[in-house]
Symmetry: C2
Subunit: 202 residues, 2 copies
Amino acid sequence: MKYPTTIQNLIECFQKLPGIGEKTAERLALSTLNFEQETIDVFSESLKNTKTKIKKCSRCNNLAEDDLCEICKDDSRDAKLLCVVESPKNIMLFEKLGTFHGYYHVIDGLISPLDGINPEDIHIPEMINRIREENIEEVILALKPSVEGETTSLYISKILDKSNILVSKIAHGVPLGADMDYVDSLTLELALENRKKISNDD
Amino acid sequence: MKYPTTIQNLIECFQKLPGIGEKTAERLALSTLNFEQETIDVFSESLKNTKTKIKKCSRCNNLAEDDLCEICKDDSRDAKLLCVVESPKNIMLFEKLGTFHGYYHVIDGLISPLDGINPEDIHIPEMINRIREENIEEVILALKPSVEGETTSLYISKILDKSNILVSKIAHGVPLGADMDYVDSLTLELALENRKKISNDD
């Protein structure tokens, strides 16, 4: 004996979401029965719109409803500054900070020769073209601190090395507020290597 | 700077689900971008259908797409046996067991004089009528082991006391596989009170 088809389908859909198991899916599906009509309409409509309305920004690959994303449309930002990230979600992290006022470029993954992912697969050449065409002066690489992330950062910086573009990488080290007991050894090694002299002069 | 409206709306909808915070909602909403068209269609349609297609079974209050739920439609079950539960979800728990072959009745909550919930509010009189009309012979109460649950069970059993109906309550005690260190004292008291003699005769 099962739930009515509608509920059964809904449970199965919820189960397709990351980290949602059978029991949680059941709870979530049943909870929608108490939603107001308006919420259901927006929920249902938005889901449909993810396929019809959402596309990639033609300039930076961010999520967009038009040809350009909201950030690329905003011409008050610093056009000389580009931050390279791995996903639209990472853009949001920087935007929540509110201190970065340049533009972004989302690459489609990280270089990983072992998985057969080459620079062309993640559209690095297109990004390099964009950087040159737009006369960008500084590129900040904000990729994941993993082997693949480092490889990708190194690859990009080597290509841009010949040009006059300043390439930097966000700092890696012990996060603020972290319990020193739980910092992994690689991070600690990196933090030690990149230690900064404390200046008492000013 | 925010996500496109579609994504923003979707995040807000996911946040209305129980136990889903801002970060999880963001992750879930973004994950739907990778769903196949078919999944999105089913998901979106099922959500809409919760409002239009799902109603309460006119006989037992279970979730139904027709006038009667799937269980009430099945006339191969034991019509003399009725299990009283608090929600359609509880019905599914019993159905997964597969050992109960009677019918169910879902009451709309539990009696709680402190919260102003009286037997009439949760439609106990209607259930009593059903029990009498259908000549049910045994009623199994499977309500939550709480003050409200016990009150409700007691109330129902008192009403049915005058008739010839056998009223029982599911057993409460230490669950199988439980670590004794973590069993709460009320459960332990109940388990002690309802101890069973171990028979070595058979």
